[in-house]
Subunit: 211 residues, 4 copies
Amino acid sequence: MNDTGRTAESIYRKQGLGASSGWGSRPALVVVDFVNGFNDPDVLGGGNIPAAIDATVTLLAAARQARMPVAFSRIVYAPGADSVFCMKIPALASLHEDHPQSQIVPQLEVRPEDAIIRKTQPSAFFGTDLAGWLIRQGADTVLVAGCTTSGCVRATVVDAMSYNFRPVVVADCVGDRAPGPHEASLFDMSQKYGEVQTLADVLDRLVHLRA
Amino acid sequence: MNDTGRTAESIYRKQGLGASSGWGSRPALVVVDFVNGFNDPDVLGGGNIPAAIDATVTLLAAARQARMPVAFSRIVYAPGADSVFCMKIPALASLHEDHPQSQIVPQLEVRPEDAIIRKTQPSAFFGTDLAGWLIRQGADTVLVAGCTTSGCVRATVVDAMSYNFRPVVVADCVGDRAPGPHEASLFDMSQKYGEVQTLADVLDRLVHLRA
Amino acid sequence: MNDTGRTAESIYRKQGLGASSGWGSRPALVVVDFVNGFNDPDVLGGGNIPAAIDATVTLLAAARQARMPVAFSRIVYAPGADSVFCMKIPALASLHEDHPQSQIVPQLEVRPEDAIIRKTQPSAFFGTDLAGWLIRQGADTVLVAGCTTSGCVRATVVDAMSYNFRPVVVADCVGDRAPGPHEASLFDMSQKYGEVQTLADVLDRLVHLRA
Amino acid sequence: MNDTGRTAESIYRKQGLGASSGWGSRPALVVVDFVNGFNDPDVLGGGNIPAAIDATVTLLAAARQARMPVAFSRIVYAPGADSVFCMKIPALASLHEDHPQSQIVPQLEVRPEDAIIRKTQPSAFFGTDLAGWLIRQGADTVLVAGCTTSGCVRATVVDAMSYNFRPVVVADCVGDRAPGPHEASLFDMSQKYGEVQTLADVLDRLVHLRA
């Protein structure tokens, strides 16, 4: 954490931010936008996203063993569709259903029972049936991996909390194009929206969940 | 902008982030959570929030002259109610309907025709009728003032954009407890979610809107 | 059921409508709009609504004994607020926070721990935090009482199902201004959106839930 | 209208239901679930749905001439996906992306610029980006055609109104499996949620819109 973060943290502590929201008893895993285009620094990715995908391979294996429900989100626009989001980031509009850049990275092996959430906005909840899917799974806790930390991950975490699911951001499994926004959003999420935990801590917890 | 911001910006520019979403033709003003408790550094406020409130007095006067619809949000919890958000920030739970800390600051003179949006989550859209109110006003653009920049302002901007309203963050009229999260969120919003403009630029635009 | 209902039912059965959605394991009770104004045939009520309120007194007692979470919805408009719904039914606009007609009927004794859902639209989910409240309770099943059957009850049931909660409409505990719309909506809900069960059957189930 | 309807109407009139919500100035057309499976009495259709599709061919042509934005909804489930709605109507679960029964009927010629709204619940708004699409079009009025009148049409109309769009149900262009639920929902919608107008009246209005 840099100086800026430390200054904020002392103010936040005084006001009581950053308390723990913990885990409930039934976690689900939501993997946000780990598609080819966000894994490629020449398209929409870069930074520590490839490393976060590698760490998510391990997280996903543990989630499978714990028999957790798993959802993957993808940004998918219909040809010709637009949005204010596409005004800001025009490259999003090319992420069509069959475009190679909008396919989930092959390292993360999607299974037929997983949910695939097609979205057009930052949050994986907005205009999708993710909330209903989590309710149907009986989930009360949402583990979040994916990218970008300061974009779709953060928006998804805010909405997960707004629906009263307990968010757990797996710090090693989220990535961003650049370190500044990544760190700033990890800080904000840890102070205001959920738990931010290392992969090691989450894996340890999942082992006990299985037991 | 610090080094971190500059590094991110060069990556973002290469990938085409940060394009302009502009203004539509029918703006509305949404003032987020400028209540006594967020104006007080001993409660939930501090930083540049008081300065942002002062600047919003000017913005509000211009909005009145331009006959723009105006909405104010407040966080209001029922006694005994809880949420995951309150787990993270326990002081929120005391913001009841009649609590002095949850009243809109007196400098901002609310009028009977303004909408008051009671909310329990970061975004002024979540679990409220703000989207329907904006639709009823025929708005296509949402000017955003309020606090905190990295919290409820940002969440509101993300949702405004997700509904395809064009967000315009009035930089002088949003404030946060600490400068780091404030700057980081202004950067993120300018790159991904809407326009970030100075009060002077917005006032100039509103004068022409009136003409 | 009249001839019309019987004709529809044979078609529906052939196409496989009307299968059972059953109960999950954690029900919550949602009481829709049982306020003074809807209990009064000279205001917005009449028909079998008073009888449904009486039956709901019994249902509520059983829900308390089963320690079920309970929510009550009310229509509450701010003075001066409007909506397309108020265009269709202008009397709704007078249901302000403190208006006697918008208070929950005294027969139903609200407790401090109950949720009060203020709404402006037919569904108790629309623009409210009811979904988040149910998630926070860990509910998977929503028992519905209230009025009107063809209006706010039905809209609430459709949304409950759309979020993947299992709706159970307690037939004796829902009422409407006139028998035609009441019967037609009970039929539709039983065929397409959830269980429609008698109070006796629901009470029997709740006793076993407690055991 | 049958006796039941007449009885209800007199009560409703006394209480002021059934007032006019009218048209705004910028209508869009939403065609709900006119797919092959709902056009076929041996699958999920029958009744007056084929006639409603025929009438919608005329409505669609007028909408094209008036340069109205047009959206079509389809129910699309992923293989293996489920929902409480599928519990009630198991045949819905077979409406996959590429299934012939889930394709829009060929009489209605979809154009590349139309929006296709994939949905899993009754309302075309629930878990979709229809609200955002309408906002992006600047629409304030939603003409509704489709099926079934008592199911997905009605749920879509309730949500359109809840977002403060003005619904106009084109009576000749909505259909249902059986006449009872069709008539009952037309009555309810005309009394509580929007305008119910004949195709002839709507066509007349659209001609003047073009002028």
